[in-house]
């Protein structure tokens, strides 16, 4: 399901709390909506499964920061 890039989803997004979210990504979040980051992704664990945005939009994948937006 496509995730809108809107203020509510941005507020609920937990990407900045994620161990994989790094300094390069500091102004980026909601990868399930905006797509993959242009920063280097060093996998340190993924919180997408715990995210309220993922629950609301019935997402079942991980590492949107690397794999791109939800389809």
């Amino acid at each position: 399901m496509e995730v809108p890039n809107n203020p509510e989803n941005n507020a609920n997004c937990i990407c900045p709390n994620c161990p994989t979210h790094n300094e390069c990504m500091k102004n980026q979040k909601l990868f399930c909506s905006i797509g993959k980051t242009d920063c280097t992704v060093e996998k340190q664990g993924c919180l997408c499964g715990e995210c309220p945005v993922a629950s609301e939009y019935q997402l079942n994948d991980l590492y949107f920061c690397e794999n791109g937006k939800a389809k």
Binding site: I14, K43, E50, P52
Partner: protein, 362 residues
């Protein structure tokens, strides 16, 4: 730091039962460990609570809260929920003979996050006097999937739930890595000679984030809860030498699973006389859900109970037992049976509740 308000009316309870708030003012209370055979005096220790950010509280028989230990972490927690704020001090169990506590936690060592277990001693059970390290230097992470529940088996060995560390899930299948395993050890951390591999602490492998553990009297076995990535949380009966599948599968050798994750935390069997006989051997499970999610949510914020079938191949019933219905981030985390009811912690409000049979006429 109190993150959520709490009112008892915000909790729905299964018909025939009622809720009693027995303690407040705890800070991020995680797990509960009852004192086996507590003394009869009002000031005797009754139960202990691990607090996520490095304290242990002891609650006496008169339900006064005392600080047993503090400053057990060597790093500053960051309160990020979900995320790195979910880590710290988790597991707690009372060694029945001495009254000592075993505690599991993460720590920082030259910039690396590691996991350890300590054993603490006290003269009166009210204040820690000394501590020794049982095992340490286990690679870990500042997030969930860390070292989790501790339990003591009927064989008087210490069992340890160890998450996969989140970064490389393949370690759960690596027999030379302790992560993603259930460990079995003597109380001094040494390997029991009757372990599946007499040279290894590993008792079973293939777990992801096994938060809860409890022992069942009727089959003398250990049961754990395990958390899936976005699907397949599960309950499993842990048997020596078995492989529980992660990262390939979170259903392998499982008793029961939720296709859509609910974040099961602590678990406990009703196996004494706290509830009527109909509830005997039912497993009560805290479903924590998404940390810090407020109000009505799809995941967690409840305690459910399941009845396991006779041949242990599945379950025959599933009920919601307690449910948070308010607007806050409240959710049950720790859970354990005391002699007079089922106790649980509400992580974000810092309250400890008891579920008991409703008195007639109420």
């Amino acid at each position: 730091m109190k993150i959520a308000e709490d009112t008892i009316k915000d909790w729905w309870v299964f018909p025939g039962f009622e809720l009693e708030k027995v303690a407040t003012g705890l800070e991020l209370p995680v797990n509960i460990a009852f004192v086996p055979g507590p003394g009869q005096n009002a000031q005797d220790p009754f139960l202990y609570v691990s607090q996520l950010y490095g304290q242990v509280k002891v609650i006496t028989r008169d339900f006064t809260v005392h600080t047993y230990a503090s400053d057990l972490l060597n790093f500053k927690p960051d309160y990020k929920f979900p995320g790195s704020g979910e880590s710290g001090l988790i597991g707690i169990v009372v060694e029945p003979e001495s009254g000592d506590l075993f505690l599991s936690m993460i720590y920082e060592d030259n910039g690396e996050t590691k996991a350890k277990i300590i054993r603490t001693s006290s003269e009166d059970g009210l204040r820690m006097k000394s501590q020794v390290t049982v095992i340490d230097n286990i690679p870990s992470v500042h997030a969930a999937h860390q070292i989790q529940a501790l339990s003591i088996g009927f064989d008087e060995k210490l069992y340890v739930n160890l998450g996969d560390g989140m970064i490389d899930s393949k370690v759960a299948q690596d027999d030379n890595d302790l992560r993603g395993k259930i460990l079995r050890m003597n109380f001094d951390g040494s390997v029991p000679s009757d372990n599946p591999n007499p040279e290894s602490l590993i008792y079973a492998k293939g777990f992801r984030n096994p938060f809860g553990a409890t022992w069942r009297k009727s089959d003398q076995a250990l049961y754990v809860s395990d958390n899936g990535p976005a699907s397949n949380d599960r309950i499993a009966k842990v048997e020596p030498g078995k492989n529980y599948g992660w990262p390939e599968s979170l259903r392998q050798n499982s008793l029961f699973w939720w296709n859509f994750t609910q974040a099961p935390t602590a678990i406990a069997f009703m196996q004494d006389s706290q509830f009527p006989e109909d509830y005997y051997d039912e497993l009560f499970i805290s479903l924590f859900g998404t940390p810090n999610a407020k109000g009505k949510v799809i995941k967690g914020k409840k305690i459910v109970k399941i009845k396991i079938n006779e041949d242990n191949s599945g379950i025959v019933s599933y009920d919601e037992f307690v449910k948070y219905t308010g607007v806050g981030p409240n959710s049950p985390c720790g859970l354990a049976f005391g002699k007079d009811g089922l106790y649980f912690t509400d992580l974000f409000s810092g309250s400890l509740y008891k579920i008991k049979l409703k008195k007639e006429g109420n």
